[in-house]
């Protein structure tokens, strides 16, 4: 290392440096070379459509039709087809909105925050996670938009001059949500697309070489004429870093603003100052649950064990554990301060959550969100892929219930016992929510069929052979 320190003599202590051996886990197994990675990832897009894909696609389309049917019925009839009634006027729709948008956040976390933290293992899962983000945001947006009832008036959400001359109320967190979610959707798509450009260039040239001209043109159009120039890479990487840099505060702000929907109100159980970071931690937690739910089957189907290694799974489990524990911290502090604050309404809201009519939901939430991730302390659990997948599903369930508990229990029993109520969903909203899993899967299946599911250029860049100084295995 002395050659790089030419401006001053190497200090004596450097001669003593003799690190203990604890090699870092390799991110690509079996010393796969660059060409193998290209073939593996492009092969998924270039090869014939597998039969299972058609089956899944059919099922996904069928399930998605539930959402279409539910929404059609809602628009044709009115919002009354949902189970909302005083005092619970926000229920499954907002629960589902927060649920889906939270799932999206892990994609941004992986692509942006882990990028800033230089966590190289992110490369093999970031493309699919970002796709998950976009599709999850799309599913999330359905709910508030249709909740406004007269969907054809949804453009009132934006500050566009209209015949009433009145403007949007920018004091309302719901209006902030409009900006937050639309910015989040837009920036996520842009970030995803920028990451795709080099890979689209690769596909363009490969399709051109084998004479599939139309495909080459379509991929080529989106590749923008990328040619791997290092002068381009230099600006590209800077742009990517900046996008990562702004996506980080963006993802924090989006769920913060979602939490403001509740926290700026006066409702017991909603108005508490820890909501912003607590919601963000929960969002990342749920998102990692979904990333594992999606990536583990993909890894098995496409035989990606060399690229998504046990080390990747370990890391995802550990982040789930960490964020799950943070959520547990927030639950405890919330409960503690509800008591410490000595406001009887606030205290009741929490007692009611844990022991009232919705206690079953509360304990599902605590079990799934705080207890489930604790299994990830154990190596044996992390190495059992099936078990990890099941626990990830539990995380998804738990986080849906967290939003249900927060939203519904607080609304159902607030200040005045004479206006308490109990909420149950209608068949229409159950179908609509169920269908969004179809919408999501439909989009995700299209993604894995037509877009390289891993950023080839980034995966190549973290292999040992990519280091211009390091040991060279080939």
């Amino acid at each position: 290392m002395g050659a790089h320190l030419a401006d001053h003599p190497a200090p004596a202590i450097l001669a003593e440096v003799q690190p203990a051996s604890l090699p870092r886990k390799e991110l690509v197994h079996h010393g796969r070379d660059f060409h193998w990675i290209t073939e593996k990832i492009c092969g998924i897009v270039e090869g014939p459509t597998p039969t299972w894909w058609w089956w899944c696609f059919g099922v996904a389309a069928f399930v998605a039709s539930f959402t279409v049917a539910g929404l059609t019925y809602l628009v044709g009839t009115g919002v009354g087809v949902w189970g909302h009634a005083n005092p619970v006027n926000w229920a499954w729709d907002i629960v589902n909105f927060v649920f889906w948008i939270g799932i999206g956040h892990a994609g941004t976390l992986i692509s942006a925050i882990l990028c800033l933290l230089r966590q190289k293992w992110r490369t093999s899962i970031n493309r699919a996670s970002e796709a998950m983000t976009i599709f999850a945001v799309a599913c999330a947006a359905i709910f508030p938009v249709f909740h406004v009832g007269r969907i054809w008036m949804a453009w009132y959400l934006f500050p566009i001059p209209n015949s009433n001359y009145i403007w949007q109320n920018f004091r309302s967190p719901l209006e902030w949500d409009v900006f937050a979610v639309s910015t989040y959707g837009t920036v996520s798509v842009l970030f995803w697309y920028i990451g795709l450009i080099p890979d689209l260039g690769t596909l363009r040239d490969r399709f051109f070489t084998v004479g599939r001209i139309w495909r080459a043109r379509i991929y080529g159009f989106f590749a923008m004429g990328w040619r791997g120039s290092n002068r381009h890479w230099s600006n590209y990487e800077m742009a990517y870093l900046i996008l990562a840099g702004i996506s980080t505060p963006l993802v924090l702000s989006v769920h913060t603003i979602v939490s403001f929907d509740f926290a700026v109100s006066l409702l017991p159980g909603w108005h508490t100052t820890i909501f912003p970071p607590y919601f963000v931690a929960g969002a990342i937690f749920s998102g990692f649950g979904m990333v594992m739910t999606l990536m583990l089957p993909l890894r098995a189907i496409f035989r990606l064990e060399d690229l998504i290694t046990q080390y990747h799974i370990d890391n995802m489990c550990k982040i789930t554990l960490a964020t799950g524990t943070m959520v547990g911290y927030a639950y405890s502090i919330e409960f503690f301060i509800a008591w410490y604050g000595s406001n009887p309404y606030e205290g009741f809201a929490f007692i009611n959550r844990a022991f009232g009519h919705y206690a079953w939901a509360y304990w599902i939430m605590v079990t799934c969100n705080v207890i489930t991730p604790q299994f990830f302390w154990f190596k044996a659990v992390r190495q059992n892929t099936t078990l990890v997948w099941c626990l990830a599903i539990m995380v998804n369930v738990g986080m849906w219930f967290e939003r249900f508990v927060i939203i519904v229990t607080s609304l159902a029993r607030d200040f005045l016992p004479s206006s308490w109520g109990y909420y149950s969903p209608s068949v229409v909203e159950i179908f609509t929510f169920f269908g969004t899993f179809g919408v999501f899967s439909f989009l995700f299946l299209l993604f894995i069929r037509f877009v390289p599911i891993m950023p080839m250029s980034e995966v190549k860049a973290v292999t040992a052979a990519a280091d211009p100084h390091g040991p060279h295995p080939h």
């Binding site: 290392m1 790089h4 320190l5 001053h8 003599p9 190497a10 200090p11 004596a12 202590i13 450097l14 003593e16 440096v17 003799q18 690190p19 203990a20 051996s21 604890l22 870092r24 800033l116 933290l117 230089r118 990487e237 800077m238 870093l241 505060p249 924090l252 913060t256 403001f260 926290a263 700026v264 109100s265 006066l266 108005h271 508490t272 100052t273 820890i274 909501f275 912003p276 970071p277 607590y278 524990t325 911290y329 927030a330 502090i333 919330e334 301060i337 008591w339 410490y340 604050g341 000595s342 406001n343 302390w377 100084h469």
Partner: protein, 419 residues
Amino acid sequence: MSAPAPIAAPRTGTALGIGAAGIALTAVGVFVSGLEKAATSWLIALTFWIGIGIGMLLLVMIHHIFDAGWSTVIRRQYEHALAAFKWLALLFVPLLLLAWLQPGLIWGWMNLATPLHDGHGTVGTDVLYLKKSGFLNRDMFTGCTAAFFGIWIGLSYFFRRNSFSQDGDGDVKWTLSNRKFAAAGLPLTALSLTFAIIFWVKSLEYHWFSTMYGVWFFAGCMRAALSTGVIIMVWLWNRGDYRGILNNNHLHCIGQLMLSFTVFWAYVTFSQYFLIWNANVPEETFWYNLREMNNSDGQPNQWKWVGLTLLFGHFFLPFLLLLWYPLKLSKKWIPRVGAWIIFIFFLDLCYNIMPAFKDHHGDPEPFLQPGLLWTLAATAGIGGVCVWAYLRSFATTKLIPIRDPRIVESLTHHEANAP
């Protein structure tokens, strides 16, 4: 040559001298301004230095839990600084004695006879206190404080022992052990710092509550610790020890962390203020109202300006400076930004602690007052002891963890992916 260039003895002595002088001066304050003023000053100064210590402990644990590479050369300095915890525990004893001998002097709720600021009744008749008395009582306070120090001193001991032992035998087991301690220590430290700040600071105005408070303190600790770290790095560079070891990428990375936590602090502080502002519930807003205007006449008080200084000085100024790439690499400027952040962390603690003490109108004590002198003296005094503890530890081990598995990665960090 194995030992780091030995620190000249007077330096260690100077630090201890400053410590003793500061502590003595604070003791003088007891006779000049009264016990309450001096004790408040002592509380501010202790919280300040303990905050930096907790931040460093967290940084060490975060380093281990992430299996980080680049920060290995810096981590050793944090480990030295962790030696200060046992002395900080000792320096906390006067406050505990005060709690038992003069209850209610600092934490009003410790004495049921303390009159309430609004003039109606005493703590003993205050339903809001009685509800909380299961938590806010002297036994809990003393026991929990002892437990917090137990956690911090214990964790510090293990991280230091493991790291220093590895210098000798180069065994990987020390690193693996550190990782386990970090995993267990992070939740413990999160809880202990939360409840420490609730007991020591938030309970000064026990009517007020905010779930964000622990997170706010966490953000402040991290900022102060990172800034102290950068100052130590550049100091060692100027002394010559770190030449050939410290490179631009280290400075860039730590600068990025300083920037991130600047944003995080602003995020947390803004969220707390904003949610209280927007909901406008009197049982929460009084805390901020006191820090803007007098209770008696509604006139703006000094704390309004302190608050604005926090907004601009603790967020906008460091944020804009740290956004600037060359500044993060400047060995002249980055320690100055660090020193500024540390100073504002101190101011932030003053903002949280001092207005809890009211004059006979129920108005908060002003910021600029003779008593501030004792706060500065106490800060210098406790700081002297901390620096002395650091220097004493510094002289006993290698400058960098020479046998850490990630040490080469850290030394060659300038070749890594610089943006």
